[in-house]
Symmetry: C2
Subunit: 206 residues, 2 copies
């Protein structure tokens, strides 16, 4: 079953260990911010700093693992038809639109959408860290350190598939920042599937 | 008064709004991980993701501000004799030494030292985010995204001065990871000074 996240909105849901989350960019050039919290203890959360350190790389793709602040693997990228995502920046927020765009009545952004979606799971806004920003194309100049937010490389139908290595709460958005999405706001699609049945299960039923 | 942080250890202390923290590398090529928490509410914490986004740059130097997760300025870099620091990686930890170095009896690292130093202030280990890693020299390949931890550019006596823009709890270490410090563990020095007296104070006393 394919779910739709409307433009400039967000969702949160459970993802069990072994299940696979497929996130699809249905129109192309649309970013989706992803967060993960351990269901057993939501103080364990996706960590850019741990992941980049262990991978010695800022760009992730299949089959890279994504670590928590406690250095456990939360998710693993199983398939990736794009190969360019960001893991440096926090979700766009009222403050982003005020500071970067100069908006006087700023949208609540991915940060506000994630905070609202995660509230029923007892996760407070201050617990939102740097997100894994699917399809977000942030170029880094290795000499000056300058960051440039470029149009996503994703085309319509492109996808990334992540498998949970622990029981998780996932936060996911259709990103609200003009610059990140090449100037227009589009939806994001996602689906959840059970992973391949382990061999042991076949053996057990024989 | 100059304080010393012994090799592979850490400290935590209050820094009032307007005060200046000077961090000195007394021997050269020694990293110091810095954390900041708002004293009024320690859920407000230094944020790499917000800061890099607002600066559009991964490398900070004077006169750059350092933002919190709530998009408030916590600190501002006033002076910097090195110009190369890292704001991508989390403090080294038992897990770092286990995963990257393969140590069977790993040191608790900057993470453990910060957790111990921050405990009396009521700050839990899970609250430790990506640190602002003073003097740490992490090169990024803009094409492949590869990260390389290189020897610090700091020489003996080099320093960075940060001014607090709110009342803070600071966590500070002499980093415990061999690779970050070009193969040897050295101390870090720091001092706290009141900032320049504002003009209004002179006017008021006249």
């Amino acid at each position: 079953m394919r779910h739709e996240i409307s433009p400039r909105s967000g969702a949160a849901f459970a993802l069990d260990r072994g299940q696979r989350l497929t996130v699809i960019d249905p129109c192309g050039e649309q970013v989706s911010d992803l967060l993960a919290f351990a269901r057993a203890d939501s103080d364990e959360v996706i960590s850019s700093g741990r992941t980049l350190d262990y991978l010695s790389r800022i760009y992730l793709t299949a089959p890279d693992p994504i670590y928590s602040n406690r250095s456990n693997i939360m998710l693993r990228i199983i398939q990736d038809t794009v190969g360019r995502h960001d893991f440096l920046l926090t979700p766009c927020s009222k403050d982003t639109f005020r500071i970067i765009y100069g908006d006087s009545q700023p949208h609540r952004g991915c940060f506000g959408n994630l905070a609202a979606a995660l509230e029923p799971f007892g996760i407070a806004p201050d617990r939102i860290p740097v997100a894994f920003n699917l399809f977000m194309n942030v170029a880094v100049d290795g000499v000056s350190g300058e960051l440039k937010v470029l149009p996503p490389l994703s085309k319509a139908g492109d996808r990334i598939v992540l498998e949970a290595e622990m029981d998780l709460i996932i936060g996911l958005t259709a990103c609200s920042a003009l610059q990140s999405n090449n100037g227009s706001f589009k939806p994001i699609h996602y689906s959840i599937d059970d992973g391949p049945v382990p061999l042991a299960a076949f053996n057990g039923s024989g």
